[in-house]
């Protein structure tokens, strides 16, 4: 198993009610699988929200295999400016 930290911002934070999750996942879990899991936890509140993935503070392709200790964020549309 691997441990990952999921950082939650904006709509994700609002939907999950927390700014951070600590999760234990099977070895080989991908960001796409974790995305699915997060959306399930949000109970429909993230339906239709596009989420980009960052691992260790860098945008990564959708299907990235996670490592133990990774910091993952599902980034809803950004709104700076």
């Amino acid at each position: 198993m691997i441990q990952v930290k999921v950082k939650c911002f904006s709509q994700v934070k609002y939907a999950l009610g927390t700014h951070e999750l600590a999760l234990e996942l099977e070895i080989g879990t991908t960001t796409a699988e974790l995305d699915k899991l997060i959306r399930e936890k949000a109970d429909g509140k993230l339906d239709g929200v596009s989420l980009r993935v960052a691992v260790n503070q860098k945008y990564v392709p959708e299907e990235t295999v996670l490592d133990d200790g990774d910091e993952v964020a599902f980034i809803p549309p950004v709104q700076g400016g």
Partner: protein
């Protein structure tokens, strides 16, 4: 040269400078908080950032902008935390030889910032409610 900062609290504007010899164009953009957000009256926005990643992405974007356009300097401050209506949340200064490249760089920089720098807005409504502002550009 690039200067980028994400600041919690009010922004110090980059000062004018009369001592440059080859910069014919100084362009300043201040993005300010409007009293209406998606049709609702607000008293402030609260900006949330992905600590660390936001500044890294913003710095990288500023450097990319300086490579893509023949500008001399790009300075950018982005405010985080509560920003009241009327106040500046984004301050950008671009120095270039001619205005054309400065204007093009400004347009591209802000448009990319709004696509990739992990910063979000929460609307603070008149009754004090705090909700994520939907993304509409």
């Amino acid at each position: 040269m690039v200067k980028v900062e994400i600041v919690n609290g009010s922004i110090d504007f980059f000062p004018p400078d009369d001592n440059r010899r080859q910069d014919g164009a100084e362009l300043v953009f201040n993005g300010r908080v409007r009293a209406t957000e998606h049709g609702e009256n607000i008293i402030a926005l609260e900006y949330e950032q992905y600590d660390g990643m936001a500044e890294t992405e913003l710095t990288q974007l500023a450097n990319e902008t300086c490579k893509k356009f023949p500008i001399h300097d790009l300075f950018c401050n982005h405010r985080i935390g509560k920003v009241s209506v009327g106040e500046t949340s984004l301050h950008v200064v671009i120095w270039s030889k001619h205005r054309k490249e400065g204007l093009e760089a400004m347009i591209w920089f802000i448009s990319e910032l709004k696509k990739r720098v992990p910063i979000w807005k929460w609307a603070i409504l008149e009754d004090g409610t705090r909700i994520p502002s939907e993304c509409k550009h």
